[in-house]
């Protein structure tokens, strides 16, 4: 036996203890509750009751998808812009894009409410009577606003590592600016997009606060439904079943996303 292995195992111990207590055990609890009734007897009725929530699943997935796509459309050019700025200016630009992450999500969402509300800042300043809070658009807006930095950061990281000479080579071989972007920058930053999508889509689909505040309680997303089930001891089991299915959905979509990144690796992986 190598002497090294004892110490490397010992080094992993705190993390293993942590994982078992706070990740593995809760997951097992979710599984247990999802497959039992309030008395602790095995049942599949919780799972069977899920089609009832099909509309909520559909709405959550669509709103999160739309928010993720908008994040790509805003975040990708932004990351590109920052990565092409003067090296001395990049930290400042990046910080400006990431500063919202420093402020608590609840506070950000709450202040967004004050701005978008019927009697809020926008309507007062513009003298209009727009009804924003309570619409699905407001929820999508909230998701984009809250999670955009998580799209910009991984894409920027990949872009800033990209060899600038490779872009010059593309231009040298006949690419105009748009073709450089399409034929070289996009393929080379695919892994950044994949992690950005994961980091925006996952919190979006499970959020309950944004939909409660900016949705104004007019419709429910998965996060709200799960929260409501857990607020009542009698419906713990249904809540657990919804959580389980949502988790499986997220894992599935992540697997699909990773497949994307892997295919990338076949043709030549990023450094």
């Amino acid at each position: 036996m190598k002497a090294k292995s004892f110490f490397s195992r010992a080094a992993a111990a705190p993390h293993i203890v942590w994982s078992v207590m706070f990740i593995v055990a809760p997951l097992l609890f979710v599984l247990y509750y999802a497959l039992t009734d309030p008395n602790g007897a095995f049942t599949l009725s919780n799972i069977a009751a899920l089609p009832e929530y099909g509309g909520t699943f559909f709405l959550s997935i669509s709103l999160s998808l739309i928010a993720t796509i908008i994040c790509i459309l805003i975040g990708y050019p932004m990351a590109y812009f920052i990565s092409r700025a003067k090296p001395s200016r990049q930290p400042l630009l990046l910080m400006a894009a990431l500063v919202p992450m420093w402020i608590n999500l609840l506070i950000r969402t709450f202040s967004m409410m004050a701005i978008l509300d019927d009697g809020g800042l926008i309507n007062t300043l513009l003298g209009t009577n727009l009804h924003i809070v309570g619409t699905k658009g407001a929820v999508i807006f909230g998701m984009v606003y809250d999670f955009l930095p998580y799209m910009i950061l991984p894409i920027y990281t990949v872009m800033s590592k990209m060899d600038k000479r490779v872009l010059e080579a593309a231009s040298d071989l006949g690419c105009n600016h748009f073709e450089v972007l399409l034929r070289v920058v996009l393929p080379l930053t695919r892994s950044g997009i994949v992690s950005g999508v994961t980091m925006v889509f996952v919190p979006s689909i499970s959020t309950f606060y944004i939909s409660q505040k900016l949705g104004g309680g007019t419709f429910e997303l998965l996060g709200d439904t799960i929260e409501r089930q857990f607020a009542n001891p009698d419906t713990y089991n249904v809540g657990a079943a919804i959580s389980l299915v949502m988790m499986v959905l997220i894992l599935l979509s992540m697997a699909i996303m990773n497949k994307f990144a892997d295919e990338d690796a076949e043709g030549g992986m990023l450094p």
């Binding site: 490779v166 010059e168 080579a169 231009s171 040298d172 071989l173 073709e179 034929r183 030549g268 992986m269």
Partner: protein, 380 residues
């Protein structure tokens, strides 16, 4: 031969630091031209201006008589082989080489055929499907050359393409590049800091320093008739001495009057005198024009490199006969071994062999700020 590239009064500075200072240069069609100089001399910037990756602050650039100063790289009939190859990591060998043709919407059959031809030209047959990230430096190099040449450019720019290769492979690639250049008839503009590489490959060498062209000429011109102390020192080894031209073909230096073959200077004009180490004959003290003491002897394989002291000035001499350290010897210099140069801004900076490089002197000098030295580099 007509000129294909012309630079007229081109200047460029980065962050207030002048990198190119009023460069005027003509490059003839189908020539192998090398831009040679130490790092920070402006050679890479010159190449990037021709490639279109930088725009000049002042001056104009012409391609085949047409001004191209403001054209972006993709509109220039020029291709580049980059320093670290800059291959596309997401494409295989075939698609890397085919990149330019795909953009030009060349039909598939023709693409396949031309890539095959290129792979044969750079001796990479059968590498089509390989991942470029797993190729060796020499193989990546060849892919980079094929990727540029397949577009049939009029001019190929090469930015220190052999810098990352080991010595033997570099020599093979030098020969191969020269062969490719002759076979294709494409004008090559080659940037290097390696004087030996420049001398052995080029039709014309352009020696640069401090953002200026110091000398343009054939390799033999540059070596035998350097125009100033910088060129004499940078190309090969040189003893550069202060001298006074007494009259045509008579020069005084190292406390002695020598016969030489140069003329055309005014009477008693101060000059720089170059004596190549291999042109000095070691003789018995009583037969020499100069007497001196050997201070060090180093075995170099083909010859011995000895350093001698003459009135505090260290000369380097290359001889095939062993001489003992501390020995008294005589030196004999033929008239045609003496080359006379006009005084220049570089006079007095080079030519003494107390140390081999200026850097060595600077290393031990606390008054020189290293960061300032590095700021002038254009190699980043």
């Amino acid at each position: 031969m007509n000129k294909i590239i012309e630079l007229r009064g081109v200047s460029k500075s980065f962050d207030g630091e002048t990198v190119l200072d009023n460069i005027t240069l003509e490059i003839k069609d189908k020539e192998f031209v090398t831009l040679l100089g130490p790092s920070g001399c402006g050679k890479t910037t010159t190449l990037r201006l021709i490639g279109g990756f930088e725009t000049a602050d002042e001056g104009q650039i012409f391609f085949d008589g047409q001004e191209i100063s403001d054209l972006p790289p993709y509109k220039r009939n020029v291709n580049t082989v980059f320093q670290k190859y800059a291959l596309f990591p997401h494409l295989n060998v075939f698609e890397n080489i085919a990149f330019g043709l795909r953009l030009a919407k060349v039909p598939n059959d023709e693409v396949t055929e031309r890539v095959k031809e290129m792979l044969a030209l750079v001796s990479l047959k059968g590498f089509e499907k390989k991942n470029v990230n797993l190729l060796s430096g020499g193989q990546q190099q060849r892919v980079a050359i094929a990727r540029a040449l397949i577009n049939k450019p009029r001019v190929l720019l090469l930015d220190e393409p052999l810098g990352a290769l080991d010595l033997k492979l570099r020599k093979d690639m030098q020969a191969e590049l020269k062969k490719i250049q002759q076979a294709t008839g494409i004008t090559f503009i080659y940037v290097t800091h390696d004087q030996e590489e420049a001398l052995s490959m080029s039709d014309t060498v352009v020696v640069m320093q401090n953002g200026k062209i110091q000398q343009i000429g054939t390799p033999t011109d540059i070596y035998n008739e350097p125009q100033n102390a910088f060129v004499a020192d940078f190309i090969g080894e040189s003893n550069i001495l202060d001298g006074v031209m007494l009259s045509d073909r008579r020069v005084h230096f190292a406390g002695h009057v020598f016969e030489c073959v140069d003329g055309g200077f005014s009477k008693n004009e101060p000059v720089d005198v170059v004596v190549r180490p291999e042109d000095v004959d070691v003789v018995l003290p009583e037969n020499g024009m100069l007497r001196c003491t050997v201070t060090s002897v180093t075995f170099k394989g083909v010859h011995w490199e000895i350093i001698v002291d003459i009135d505090g000035f260290k000369w380097m001499i290359q001889t095939t006969d062993y001489v003992a350290p501390q020995a008294e010897i005589g030196l004999y210099i033929e008239p045609d071994a003496i080359h006379i140069m006009k005084k220049s801004e570089f006079s007095g900076q080079f030519g003494d062999y107390s140390t081999f490089s200026a850097e060595m002197d600077e290393l031990s000098n606390p008054d020189i700020d290293e960061t300032e030295e590095a700021a002038g580099s254009d190699e980043s």
